[in-house]
Amino acid sequence: MPIITYRDALNQALREEMHKDDRVFLMGEEVGVYNGAYKVSKGLLEEFGEMRVVDTPITELGFAGVGVGAAMVGLRPVVEFMTWNFALLAIDQVVNAAAKMLYMSGGQFPMPMVFRGPNGAALQLSAQHSQAWESWLAHIPGLKVVTPGTPYDAKGLLKSAIRDDNPVIVLEGEMLYNTKGEVPEEEYLIPLGKAELKREGSDCSIITSGKMVLVAMQAADTLAKEGIKIDVVDLRTIRPMDVEAITTSVKKTNRAVVLEEGWEICGIGAQVVDYIQRDCFDHLDAPVIRVHQADVPMPYAKMLERAAKPDLAKTIAAVKKVMYLEA
């Protein structure tokens, strides 16, 4: 099976879906001539032309709304945000328009569109460019939110997102674009709303998604050397969340660590813990522990940034704590 980058997997998804359906178009800053700020759209302008690969002014609110309007009358826009930090300027269109149009029109106007782009912290980009927006977006009924953690998932989820008739948020990992993985040549889709058990183990569950999947897998590898077997549940979709996958795992291991990239307060982990306490109360051998970003804006200095981010060491420590082992 070919091994390709996360970036190329996304590029393949876009290319294939644009070939399949001429209602699909890509718009955003630098997606055309520049080939994408992160080169996700490389070659697409050449292949599909200016009408379908649209370079926009720096006008997030405006072009997000253009996407909404186009979707309202039957096109299938893919709106790229250079990063999700900039999408805050467009959030009215995502939350007040795309997410609500179907409901407030009594079912007359579905919104077949995708909002996508890199999410979360990269390296030393400091406060305004290093934020994980999962919980903000997943809070909103009317949206679906996916967070692919591998090239395989990136391609399959983006293709499904483009075909879905609802507004789908795709949160890509800025640090994941260069990561590699197996992606088959033949076409495949990954259903939205389905988690994947990325690693099987009986001692403790790590429930996570997106960029943190890599961290969870590393933690599972490291802990395996000490004889600790980890169940890694990759949620893949944050909304709708695959609650059954979470509770099945926790009922098996009786212990859980919830790992997320964003902040603690009202974070995704809080929701996961709620599902666990509702369904697995009698199965737990220890309180669930959450691993997340420190409750501060992201600092610039290397050492402070490292301290702020959830990482391998913090995840391993959390697992040992729920297992009542010495760290």
């Binding site: 072009f63 253009v66 186009a70 309202m72 179907l102 407030m104 106007f109």
Partner: protein
């Protein structure tokens, strides 16, 4: 309403009757809405259009069935002028299942796919980029439709408006932005909110054909619209119309008609140019008014409006299962093939 020089005020009695009917229908319907609101049959925010009817009627009378319309929360009159039934609008205001948005939208969110009415929207300026996107889609498909985007004059101070006009001017999109300048955004007079007095000049800076129009004269509205629509259809060119009008009621049902931010004297001055009276006078001058015509129209409309009330009153509330319906659809592009 298809005749050649259709904005021309002279002579076409059928057209004139239709215009008058459309405007009086809006007026009487909304008077009934105010009554229903007072009785608690309608709730929430409710913004009347009374005084501005010539804008809705004039604009819609230049559109084709396959064109699109998008607007603000002040949407009842425009919905009727676009051809939505009084029944479906009243039932929506009553929060009933037979409402145009199945009781989910209310006064501010009237939608009707069958006539390309893409909604009343509640975020000031928020629908302006959406209109721009509809225009983008029209051009993407190579069609010759247009979209009309109504907004109040207060929206022109907001970023969504400017971002939209820039893209429409840059990409040449078939959209007609209609600013209904009724001089106030809630209680804020436009000169207290805008750095310039001539709103239409905002369009010129984005290389968009822009003009000022008398919004109390339905023929003036039609003339400007006719040219704007032609520009959109032929050359994918956007237009900005600043249509000067005045609302005769408060901002919404909770706002006094006058006394706080505008005087009674000012209101009375503007009411001298009631668009319905102006049209009647013009028809009399043109010889298209005949005896009993107004009485006939009034009678017809009184029946329509009462029927809409009765219909809305008899329509059931949405069933409780509707609560969770229409949050998401189940379909994908593999299961549906709709353009």
């Amino acid at each position: 309403m298809a005749s050649k020089k259709k904005s021309d005020p002279s002579g076409d009695a059928t057209l004139h009757r239709e215009l008058l009917h459309s405007m009086i229908l809006q007026r009487r319907f909304e008077e009934k809405v105010a009554e229903a609101y007072a009785l608690g049959k309608i709730g929430g925010f409710c913004h009347l259009y009374i005084g501005q009817e010539a804008v809705g009627t004039g604009v819609m009378s230049e559109l084709r069935h396959d064109d699109y319309v998008i607007t603000t929360y002040r949407d009842h009159g425009q919905a009727l002028a676009r051809g939505m039934s009084a029944r479906s609008v009243m039932a929506e205001l009553f929060g009933r299942i037979d409402g145009c948005s199945r009781g989910k939208g209310g006064s501010m969110h009237l939608f009707d796919r069958s006539v390309g009415f893409l909604g009343g929207h509640g975020i000031v300026g928020g629908h302006v980029p959406i209109a721009t996107g509809v225009a983008f889609a029209i051009k993407y498909r190579g069609g010759d439709q247009c979209i009309v985007c109504f907004m109040g004059e207060a929206a022109v101070n907001n970023g969504a408006f400017h971002e939209s006009l820039n893209m429409a001017g840059l990409w040449k999109l078939p959209v007609v932005y209609v600013i209904e300048n009724n001089r106030y955004g809630m209680g804020t007079a436009m000169n207290r909110a805008s750095s310039i007095a001539e709103m239409y000049k905002r369009g010129e800076t984005y290389s968009i054909h822009s003009e000022e129009v008398d919004g109390q004269d339905v023929f003036a509205v039609r003339e400007a619209m006719s040219a704007a629509v032609a520009r959109a259809r032929k050359n994918y060119e956007p237009t900005l119309l600043e249509i000067k009008t005045y609302r005769f009621m408060g901002h919404s049902m909770s706002d006094a008609v006058s006394g706080t931010y505008r005087s009674k004297a000012e209101l009375e001055e503007y009411m001298k140019r009631d668009p319905i009276n102006l049209l009647k006078a013009k028809m009399t001058a043109d010889g298209t008014m005949r005896e009993n015509l107004v009485a006939e129209i009034e009678q017809e409309i009184a029946a329509t409006v009462q029927d809409s009330w009765d219909y809305a009153d008899a329509s059931p509330e949405p069933p409780i299962e509707a609560l969770y319906e229409d949050v998401l659809v189940e379909t994908t592009s593999d299961t549906t093939q709709e353009g």
